[in-house]
């Protein structure tokens, strides 16, 4: 795996920045993503505020299963709750799940990949074989087992809702770091073999300086790319857990949870189409932008990457 050395990281003139902004994928992806994130976060006081019409749990018995109208732009669900409020809060939570999973993936994956790649030898072999073994287990097994093992004990220590969220983040994050570790290790290995590292060592530079000035900056690219690509995977995994009934604790919504509920309502006979359409559109748009963003970043930061490492 090679780094495209034609893009100097700290060259004058900002070659990298120009390329970043020139890529339409990145621009489009980031703009849409930003818009959605802003909408979800800015409306948090309303979606969590008991008095607001957008409160996610405001059950209104008189307006059950209403189709979208001016006062209720996304319609209501089967308990009369505003779907717009639930979608907004759901977006915040889903994106939080994705981001948390990506953060865990970064922390764990980068550390392990660094140690393996830098140290080499038996530690490298041990860590990479462990990664192989974990790859060999179906990830759903690990997620469910982790969730079932830790949710209850944790719920006794802190509130059940918080425990549910924390376990959800961790369970998904813990299966997402494997690719990151492999990518980082590969990157470190190929960097170490580069002539300029040899030269630096021959010149007598201390290890830490080599590490900080030469290795780490070259890792930023792939890490960002794969972190961006981990987020949609994590959001989809959370939606799968909701489909199984072991996702987020009700009545808190996530997009996956709303899509799962909307599915039940999407019956050829009843067709409460808004209950499925809005969460799914938001999901599709967000995940597509994340994927485009990730692809665009990869085009710019890592064009010669061995693309088999997803």
């Amino acid at each position: 795996m090679t780094v495209d050395s034609s893009i100097p990281i700290d060259a004058p003139g900002g070659g990298l920045h120009t390329r970043l902004f020139a890529s339409r994928r990145i621009l489009l992806g980031s703009v849409i993503l930003l818009a959605i994130i802003l909408a979800a976060l800015a409306t948090l006081p309303m979606t969590l505020g008991h008095r607001s019409s957008l409160y996610y749990n405001s059950q209104d018995a008189a307006h059950v299963r209403q189709r979208p109208c001016l006062t209720r732009p996304f319609g209501t669900d089967s308990l009369g709750r505003s779907l717009l409020g639930r979608c907004l809060l759901g977006g915040a939570i889903s994106l939080a799940v994705g981001t948390a999973a990506a953060l865990i993936a970064i922390i764990l994956g980068v550390s392990i990949g660094l140690i393996a790649g830098y140290h080499g030898g038996w530690l490298d072999a041990l860590l990479m074989r462990s990664v192989d073994v974990l790859y060999g287990l179906p990830y759903i097994l690990l997620v469910i087992l982790f969730k079932m093992a830790f949710q209850e004990p944790l719920a006794r220590l802190i509130s059940p809702n918080a425990a549910n969220l924390i376990v959800l983040f961790s369970a998904i994050g813990l299966v997402s770091w494997l690719t990151m570790a492999r990518v980082v290790r590969g990157q470190v290995l190929s960097l170490r073999a580069q002539p300029f590292i040899e030269a630096a060592r021959a010149a007598g530079l201390p290890q830490t300086r080599i590490f900080l000035r030469h290795i780490l900056p070259n890792l930023v690219g792939p890490v960002i790319v794969y972190a961006t690509l981990t987020i949609p995977q994590a959001i989809l995994q959370e939606s799968f857990l909701s489909f199984l009934g072991i996702g987020i604790q009700k009545p808190m919504p996530t997009w996956g949870d709303l899509a799962s509920d909307g599915l039940l309502a999407l019956n050829p006979l009843t067709a409460y189409w808004w209950m499925l359409l809005f969460p799914c559109t938001l999901l599709a748009v967000t995940l597509l932008s994340l994927n485009f963003l990730g692809d665009g970043l990869r085009d710019v930061l890592d064009p010669r990457q061995d693309a088999a490492k997803l």
């Binding site: 018995a61 089967s78 059940p160 809702n161 199984l244 072991i246 604790q249 019956n267 009843t270």
Partner: protein, 573 residues
């Protein structure tokens, strides 16, 4: 990456899809088993059948198949036009003599009754099955305790088996002490301790069905303790021998079961369909679509939204009718909760307050929408002739608040956090979300109620271990008598999920057991139910309904509250 002009054997890449295609054709041959002869009637059962061991079955879909495969001393027959929808008629026994004190039944078996391998049905088959039921206790063993000496035998056998395991010597218990004897091959005498009016109904229930010992013998594994275990292969075709209208021809796990008419069945002339297929389908939407596209003739369970949509369109093939079951919330009545904190629901006033602060109409009108009736009573009304359930606690938020204040939580102040346990399938989540909000609003409890939605296995475990504060529950009657409901809440009953103990209730139930006069008995049970409803270990919400889908060319599907359509009677034009 490749740098030169070398064409990397593009053709070799095409090998991949080609190889895959070949493998695909091969594997398709293996996996799609081919339909074989088309069935005359196909239905979608509620889920996959769990077991065909009549001693151990307790699930509805298993029991439905059991009625097709076996026949007890009495059997069920549809009785159109009555509230019960079913009547109990003699089955394997052609004549039954009842003693004057109504405690001794003498069953004269039909000489022409045969097992599916041609063997005659003899009294010994029933004795073998009932003995096994007592030796290997299961969910319904307690029903056999109406037999004289049965309970003692069962306990003695268990003690003897444990003694043997510890290598202690103990005399083996004698089955002769139990009140069932084979006077001869075709006569069975059963001795009860006291008259049981619904004993014929019990005889028509799978735990009382006969078993064909010779076909099970090759699968027997005797253990040191004296227990005999039968390997489950005895339930599979072609090993399974049954004496009912059908025999089991095929059983493909999680796919389908094929029942073929039993040529040796004494009443084979009355069996309407010769080949019946049962398809198993877990997803309700897919099941409905399968029915709609002609994949099945009868869909035995239709869920809420679908049923509502069908009813709105005036679909004639939807049949909704009352079920013999109730949906309720159950309270943990112990003084302490599993985590050690004091249980607010141990105080009966708190339970009553919660019961009176829930407006159930929204649930049946807007959430389930299948035309259920809300209820304040435990036993479903209108099914059992002559029985009148006492009135329960009506919706009265003001009274509820007063009660809560009396219990020490004026305006909800100081009420601890509590959680409502339910499983995430179906509508339970929505109902729970609504209920929590109702209590938050009507009792001013604010955010103190939380939801604990778990998946079904965890749910059952928590419920059984009393590891909950409040949980959703339901109960369906197994036979047409009040005791199938009231027995559940006796202090020592295994099925008592709430740990509610009331000696007066127990006493009433036990007296009712021994009471010979039907009216007096029902009055006692009514008083027992009144205690139950007043003390409120359960919060009845609504009475279930059954919903079937079948077209006009399907006949014989009985619409009875027990949800027991008899496969012997169904057919399609």
């Amino acid at each position: 990456m490749a740098q030169g002009l070398c064409p990397t054997h593009m053709r070799r890449f095409l090998l991949i899809p080609a190889v895959l295609l070949v493998l695909l054709v091969l594997s398709l041959r293996l996996s799609t088993g081919g339909g074989g002869r088309a069935a005359q009637f196909t239905f979608i059962n509620r889920g996959e059948v769990n077991t065909l061991d009549t001693n151990r079955m307790s699930w509805l879909q298993d029991i439905r198949i059991a009625y097709a495969l076996w026949e007890g001393l009495y059997t069920l027959q549809s009785d159109h036009g009555t509230a019960a929808g079913l009547k109990t008629v003699p089955g394997a026994a052609e004549r039954i003599d009842l003693s004057d004190d109504k405690t001794t039944y003498t069953f004269h078996l039909r000489p022409q009754a045969r097992w599916s391998n041609g063997d005659p049905v003899v009294a010994g088959d029933f004795i073998f099955a009932w003995k096994r039921m007592l030796q290997e206790p299961a969910d319904y063993t307690y029903l056999l305790f109406y037999l004289h000496g049965a309970k003692q035998y069962s306990e003695a056998f268990e003690a003897w088996a444990s003694a043997r395991q510890q290598q202690l010597a103990m005399p083996a218990p004698d089955f002769k002490q139990v009140g069932v004897t084979a006077c001869d091959a075709l006569t069975l005498r059963v001795q009860l301790d006291y008259p049981v009016t619904f004993f014929p109904d019990l005889c028509a229930f799978p735990p009382f069905f006969p078993l064909h010992e010779p076909s099970m013998r090759p699968f027997a594994e005797a253990e040191d303790s004296g227990h005999t275990n039968y390997k489950s292969a005895f339930m599979r075709p072609p090993n399974l021998v049954s004496n009912g209208p059908f025999r089991l021809a095929e059983w493909q796990f999680h796919r389908k079961m094929r029942l073929v008419a039993n040529q040796y069945y004494w009443d084979r002339g009355q069996v309407k369909s010769q080949v019946i297929d049962q398809l198993s389908s877990e997803d309700p939407q897919t099941s409905f679509l399968a029915y709609e596209t002609g994949g099945a003739d009868w869909l035995a369970e239709v869920t809420g939204d679908t049923a509502f949509g069908l009813a709105q369109r005036g679909r004639k093939d939807l049949h909704v009718f009352g079920a013999f079951g109730t949906y309720f919330y159950t309270f943990n009545c112990n003084a302490m909760l599993p985590d050690g904190s004091p249980n607010p629901f141990a105080d009966v006033r708190v339970r009553q307050a919660f019961a009176m602060a829930l407006d159930k109409r929204f649930i049946v009108n807007q959430i389930t929408r299948m035309g259920e009736r809300t209820t304040t009573q435990y036993v479903p009304p209108g099914v059992l002739a002559g029985y009148q359930s006492p009135a329960g606690l009506a919706f009265d938020p003001k009274a509820a608040r007063r009660l809560l204040a009396e219990a020490g939580y004026p305006d909800g102040a100081g009420f601890p956090h509590f959680s409502l346990l339910f499983n995430n399938e179906g509508q339970h989540a929505k109902i729970a979300e609504y209920a929590i909000k109702q209590w938050a609003d009507n009792l001013q409890l604010g955010d103190r109620g939380t939801l604990a939605g778990v998946e079904i296995n965890t749910f059952r475990q928590y419920l059984h271990n009393k590891n909950y504060t409040m949980a959703r529950a339901n109960w369906f009657g197994d036979y047409y008598d009040v005791s199938t409901f009231t027995d559940k809440y006796r202090s020592y009953s295994d099925n008592n999920d709430s740990d509610w103990k009331n000696p007066e209730y127990d006493h009433l139930c036990e007296s009712a057991e021994r009471e010979g006069d039907a009216d007096k008995r029902l009055a006692m049970l009514s008083r027992a139910e009144a205690i139950l409803l007043k003390e409120c270990p359960i919060l009845p919400v609504y009475n279930h309904v059954n919903a079937y889908l079948f077209r006009a060319n399907v006949h014989g599907v009985s619409l009875n509250p027990r949800n027991m359509a008899l496969l012997k009677e169904v057919w399609r034009e």
